[in-house]
């Protein structure tokens, strides 16, 4: 299996689409880490490093968008969404400006840097702001395809959440990416696993384990959390009557909340969550952290079995 980080795919795809002269890339002194450095090298006249100044980063991006450019602004997810939140909300989203925010180093998989750098609430924060599209790619290919769509074929603010971690390639290079559309990875009848982001790798393994235990799990990859694919969620809620959501984000306000919001008012079924349970991150290896925060395939399996029991109790 091949591995690549979201940020590496991002860096490469920016160079690929960079000949479009409307694209202007901005970074806040972490271009070597976000990989916007590749674009900076090829198109220095359309690259701005603002220094360690995230609020200015998003403010300057807004100005470029006002004048018709397509600004793509990058820094670590925690600083983009927490330090520069006012600029995103009051300047970019309120005026529906065409700014693309591509944030890297999201989630616990930042690893050793620890809590200050592990963004575990950015999905919740960004999802709550009107007008913005929120995309969490599952792998490097999906990241590249989503970025191309968001930058070249969509007008309006978009937040794309990428990781530092080198995760397995799970989707195809030529898969079509449509903003707002989820993808069925595998069919099933007993429950549905809905996953967003790089934890899809664990979800796939969990589905295989469940199969061996005689449990038929459907698996849906949901990269666009906003706007959310209501049809697929409703369809699978009706079909399997039990849903488990999987995300590298706090339980409060992320994928679990988004799915619950859709289903509770249309077709309520039991929903359980694999996520971070209202805690900050901490330093550690990715492997240790996945275990500590219960995000492994084993955790998905045991939570799924728990969910099936709940489903049986409810519908018996």
């Amino acid at each position: 299996m091949d591995y690549i980080s979201g940020r590496e795919s991002y860096g490469r795809v920016l160079v690929e689409i960079g000949e479009n002269e409307k694209i202007v890339v901005l970074d806040a002194d972490v271009s070597k880490a976000t990989k916007t450095s590749y674009f900076a090298k090829k198109y220095p006249e359309r690259f701005f490093n603002v220094g360690i100044a995230e609020q200015n980063l998003l403010g300057v991006a807004a100005g470029l968008a006002v004048d018709g450019k397509i600004p793509v602004a990058s820094t670590f997810a925690v600083f983009a969404t927490c330090k520069a939140l006012d600029q995103i909300r009051n300047v970019i989203c309120k005026s529906n400006l065409n700014v693309k925010i591509v944030a890297t180093h999201a989630g616990l998989t930042v690893g050793e840097d620890g809590a200050s750098h592990q963004s575990v609430e950015d999905i919740s924060i960004m999802r709550s702001i009107p007008n913005i599209v929120v995309i969490i790619p599952a792998d490097g290919n999906e990241a590249a395809n989503a970025i191309k769509q968001a930058v070249l074929n969509y007008v309006g603010p978009v937040y794309i959440r990428l990781s530092r971690f080198e995760s397995p390639i799970l989707t195809k290079e030529d898969d079509e990416f449509t903003i707002g559309k989820a993808k069925v990875i595998g069919r099933g009848s007993d429950l549905t696993i809905v996953s967003t982001g790089i934890l899809l790798a664990n979800a796939i393994k969990a589905r295989d384990c469940l199969k061996q235990e005689g449990v038929s799990a459907a698996l849906v990859n949901l990269p666009t959390i906003k706007p959310i694919d209501r049809d697929i969620l409703l369809g699978y809620a009706k079909k399997t009557k039990a849903i488990i959501t999987v995300e590298e984000n706090t339980k409060i306000g992320g994928l679990y909340s988004a799915v619950s919001e859709v289903l509770s008012e249309s077709f309520p079924v039991p929903i359980m969550s694999i996520s971070i349970n209202d805690k900050f991150g901490m330093s550690g290896s990715v492997e240790d952290l996945s275990k500590y925060y219960s995000l492994t395939e084993k955790d998905i399996v045991s939570k799924s079995l728990e969910l099936i029991k709940l489903k049986e109790r409810i519908y018996s």
Partner: protein, 272 residues
């Protein structure tokens, strides 16, 4: 003050920084070495503190605003006796007392959690203002990076400090000339830093950040003058100072030494 002693301590801090980051296979040695002499003078000569009683009411406060250089702070705190030196080996490991960035809820002696750059001086202002309310005679030291001075919040805090005449606040800028993406002069020019700070109403001292004697005497002068002005110590330093092949080599900003580089570095430090 015994300069020879302090030099030895700062060398020890450097060695521990390099050992613990190599062992953790991550962390930020470059900026930890540039500030090692300043930290040494603070913790072993200037600060009124008691490792056996970290909550001492009258203690001076130190805030490492450039939190990524935690390894140097941990080395200083460990050598002072805030916790066992055995903890160094657990840096950045799951459940460790020593997190990747300073965490006041986990590490004895860490007063304020940092890691997101730009925050420390504001918190320092708050503690300095609180001390004034209480009539508590103590000094608040905040160590910032030169790249960190790009953050607008640093200047909001600078304005606050002079507006409220916080002469118990001392900002130290580790002027090592580099940030992540390169030289500060190429990425975002902060000069003239001295004139900016003066224009914000601060009293500015410019020193060699590796001259133990002048660091110590500057802190004594700065804290001695209660003239209503906050004090800024601009310390000219060398990123990676103390190990020849690390000096001004910015790849060591966020990359630890490999095992063979480490033994070379430790030998060099022994001979200093």
């Amino acid at each position: 003050m015994n300069v020879k002693n302090l030099k030895e301590i700062s060398n020890n801090i450097r060695a521990e920084v390099l050992k613990m980051t190599t062992n953790a296979k991550s962390g930020h040695p470059g900026g930890s070495l540039s500030m090692a002499d300043i930290l040494t003078v603070l913790y072993f000569d200037i600060l009124n503190h008691d490792p056996k009683n970290p909550r001492l009411k009258q203690r001076d406060i130190f805030i490492l605003s450039k939190g990524h250089c935690a390894p140097a702070l941990y080395a200083a705190l460990g050598l002072c006796g805030y916790f066992s030196k055995d903890e160094f080996r657990r840096l950045r490991k799951l459940g460790s007392v020593l997190q990747g960035h300073p965490d006041s809820t986990k590490t004895p002696g860490v007063e304020v959690s940092t890691g997101s750059l730009g925050n420390g001086l504001s918190v320092g202002c708050g503690i300095a203002a609180s001390s004034k309310i209480d009539g508590n005679v103590r000094n608040i030291y905040v160590l910032l990076g030169d790249g960190e001075c790009d953050e607008g919040q640093v200047w909001e805090a600078a304005m606050f400090a002079s507006h409220y005449r916080l002469d118990n606040l001392i900002a130290i800028i580790d002027l090592n000339g580099y940030q992540v993406d390169g030289k500060t002069s190429d990425i975002m020019n902060i000069e003239p830093l001295n004139k900016k700070l003066e224009a914000f109403g601060w009293e500015v001292f410019e020193i060699d950040g590796h001259d133990i004697k002048s660091i110590a005497s500057t802190f004594k002068i700065a804290t001695g003058s209660k003239n209503g002005k906050s004090k800024a110590v601009i310390a000219k330093t060398i990123k990676g100072k103390g190990v020849s092949f690390m000096e001004n080599e910015n790849k060591y900003h966020g990359t630890p030494l490999k095992e063979d580089e480490l033994s070379l570095a430790l030998n060099e430090l022994k001979e200093r």
